[in-house]
Amino acid sequence: MGLKSSLHQLKEKYKGTKMAPAFNALHTFLYMPNETTKHGTHIKAADDLKRTMNIVIMALVPCLIFGMFNAGFQHYAALGTPVDFLSWDAFWIGIIKVLPLVAVSYGVGLAIEFLFAIIKGHEVEEGYLVTGMLVPLIVPVDLPLWMLAVAVSFGVVIGKEVFGGTGMNILNPALTIRAFLFFAYPTWMSGDKVWVHGAVERAGTADAISGETILGSYAQNADISYSLSDMFFGFIPGSVGETSKLLIIFGALFLIFTKIGSWRIILSTIVGALVMGLIFNGVVDAGWITGTSKFYGLMSVPFWQHLLIGSILFGAVYMATDPVTAAQTNKGKIIYGFFIGFISILIRVFNPAYPEGVFLAILLMNVFAPTIDHYVVQGNVKKRMKRMQTKTV
């Protein structure tokens, strides 16, 4: 008896029991189900939610692998014993520091998803597959695993399940998790000691190493020790998966080509960021802000370089495009994206605690997305009303 028929018999056995959703989740991971159309169209297109989510994960994998190498590369560079980027030494740090983040994120998150599916008696939905991958990529490499576990529990339960699960949430779950970490454990989420492995434990000792990010340096009006090409290719400290702009651009192109990611959101977010950057450049050029201002450093960054520093690109490509929490109308997406970019740079420049503003901007716009959609849809409604009135006249 083959695997297929054994699993089919098990499925029949579990049918109707509490454990059915858990079993089905594992079963459908291996085999696409034998379900047929009941009413409505007799044929269906090839795409399902698993396929959609899988495409996003595929777009994230290069960022993860790069992040694993970069974790070690930055660690040894800060120690003063640099190693080659593509070396086993660098990758080993990735394996012992980054993979556990991935494992904890998926382990805790999926366990909660399974639990809720069993309690509520619905199938396990795929939303967390992407969230679970995003979370390790947007946290500092040295984040203690228990903090991650607590944050993931919070994010999945409060950010998603209380609203009814995948498709119903208002806030992006991955960003809810990051926001929780940021406000609950700020010393582990921002500052100049968290972005490089080993920096926190050595802080204050003779072996102290610096792990300043570029944003941090700018905010302190300090000089930047990284070249533009380092920033573009990603050989800089930062959250695990956000540093390589090149790979993020590849990911964006892949998502846009496969029609999974919304080009409207990605493009308008970038435009929004550039516009805000230009405004700040203008302010500096006009002489309203001088070198003595604490905002001078970030305001005087050439507007296009804002895309190379921090996580604005990562946020635009992978976070803002979450279809559930973004605006849902095509026009709304453009407005939504523009404001994300615009507000991101605004927060980046004005927030004195120099954290990255992207996640706050996206969360803020998540909240406003339904409002944007409302006004876009009202445009259609008004058109319909007007058509009726001209008829009556």
Binding site: N34, T41, A45, L49
Partner: protein
């Protein structure tokens, strides 16, 4: 007068098993049935009883809420069974056909001189009224409704749909009679959507306005035609008809006989010789299916209608009142190893998510009934809009139906749509939501609450 309509949003679903444009007569069926379920929202009140003889075109039942709307027998014979289900609901009225057919005489009418009332009462008494549907609600037209215009789409773009050129060939005379009659029932125009090609059956016809329609499916849906020409506003009514039914209406007016003969497309990848056939409304499918069609033991889905909007049927099912295609495709109740992540070449997709149908726009596919994934909440956005040409927000309208907000349904355009308009969005839906069912339930709710 003519306006061209060109739509870009949509998706042509090309399937294997298109009917060859040769029409042959199907084997005569011995058993026929009239199914009240064909007529949405009609509560049947029987006129005849089991065992009584019936002539072709003789009323069998009428609509309880509207006694003028009669439903007639497609053949002459004897009523052998009235099948009932739960709460004595009438499922079907089965008729054993006579070998020689007798027609009930409804009287000839000269449409050029006849008044609106005469035409109306003729259509009602002869059972032809049921061919006329109305929007809003996609139900049989209200007897007292005054349509602002009448729409007919003679452009078949649904997958494997019967071509109007084949189905209507040689029927120009009776079609013109029917169109003239219809034109007297509306203050507005009778709009006919025709494909891009010249020399269609409708070119040169009087009393109509033809529109050349271009673009992918659903450019041939009558709903698309309405939306682009004269959308339905609150309080307005338009009527719609299928072109093939004009033949029956025209014959009735010309000869006084209800001739249920209809050309259907027998198609689908499971059919060994897909072709067009002449048969009658209500004919038992078993007589058609096995003649150069499918194997007795074949594991297939028999669909009365096309693969997007048709009804699931069976060998003991019958040709239904509205559809003119009989499609048979393989059932898909099998598992597929890693079906959710491996590259897909043999299925249609509107994305490029390791699906490659975008590379082969002219390839014909052999699709089965597998859902290709499980039912989920709405997640993906923006993809419905790519295949939905109406000036309506599809997902927002669907959601308003799901949470039953009548005001929102009204303002978002519910009066303009029929379930079939949401067939393509349902086909591509990543979350495998039953769009057509959601819309149908929404429309039924509106009938109940608003009327």
């Amino acid at each position: 007068m003519s306006t061209d309509i060109s739509i870009k949003k949509g998706l042509d679903i090309k399937l294997k098993g298109a009917a060859k444009p040769t029409v042959e007569a199907a084997i005569n069926s011995k058993y026929f049935a009239v199914k009240p379920s064909d007529f949405h929202g009609v509560i049947p009140k029987l006129i005849l009883k089991e065992g009584q003889a019936v002539k072709a075109g003789q009323p069998i039942f009428f609509d309880k809420s509207n006694e003028d709307v009669k439903f007639v027998s497609p053949v002459s014979g004897k009523i052998i069974e009235i099948a009932r289900g739960e709460k004595r609901k009438i499922l079907s009225i089965k008729i054993e056909a006579d070998s020689t057919q007798e027609y009930m005489d409804h009287g000839v009418l000269n449409v050029d001189t006849a008044s609106q009332e005469e035409i109306k009462s003729k259509l009602l008494a002869s059972g032809c009224w049921a061919f006329i549907k109305q929007r809003p609600y996609d139900i049989i037209a209200g007897v007292n409704s005054e349509p602002k215009s009448i729409f007919i789409s003679a452009h078949a773009t649904a997958p494997l749909a019967a071509s109007c050129d084949v189905v209507l060939k040689g029927q120009e005379e009776v079609i013109q009679i029917a169109l003239t009659a219809l034109s007297k029932l509306t203050k507005g125009n009778v709009h006919v959507g025709v494909p891009n090609s010249e020399g269609s059956v409708f070119s040169g016809m009087k009393n109509i306005v033809t529109h050349r329609v271009k673009g992918p499916h659903p450019s041939g849906n009558v709903g698309t035609l309405i939306n682009k020409i004269d959308p339905v506003n609150k309080g307005e009514v338009v009527w719609t008809l299928s072109p093939q039914d004009l033949v029956i209406i025209g014959k009735l007016l010309k000869t006084g006989q209800f001739d249920a003969t209809r050309v259907i497309a027998f198609c689908g990848s499971s059919v060994s010789e897909p072709r067009y056939m002449t048969t009658k409304i209500g004919a038992e499918l078993a007589t058609i299916l096995y003649d150069k069609g499918i194997e007795q033991s074949a594991h297939v889905r028999i669909i009365m209608g096309n693969v997007l909007t048709g009804k699931k049927s069976a060998p003991d099912g019958f040709i239904d009142f509205y559809n003119n295609s009989l499609t048979v495709i393989p059932e898909g109740d099998d598992y597929e190893l890693f079906g959710w992540n491996k590259p897909v070449f043999n299925k249609i997709s509107s994305t490029r998510a390791l699906t490659f149908s975008w590379m082969f726009p002219n390839k014909e596919y052999d699709l089965n009934t597998n859902t290709n994934g499980e039912h989920r909440a709405f997640v993906v956005t923006g993809n419905y809009e790519e295949v939905f040409p109406l000036d309506i927000y599809p997902m927002q309208l669907l959601k308003s139906c799901m949470y039953k907000d009548l005001d929102e349904m009204e303002t978002l355009g519910m009066y303009e749509v029929a379930p079939e308009d949401f067939a393509l969005t349902e086909f591509i839906c990543v979350s495998k939501q039953p769009h057509q069912e959601i819309i149908r339930e929404g429309l039924d709710l509106m009938i109940k609450e608003i009327g």
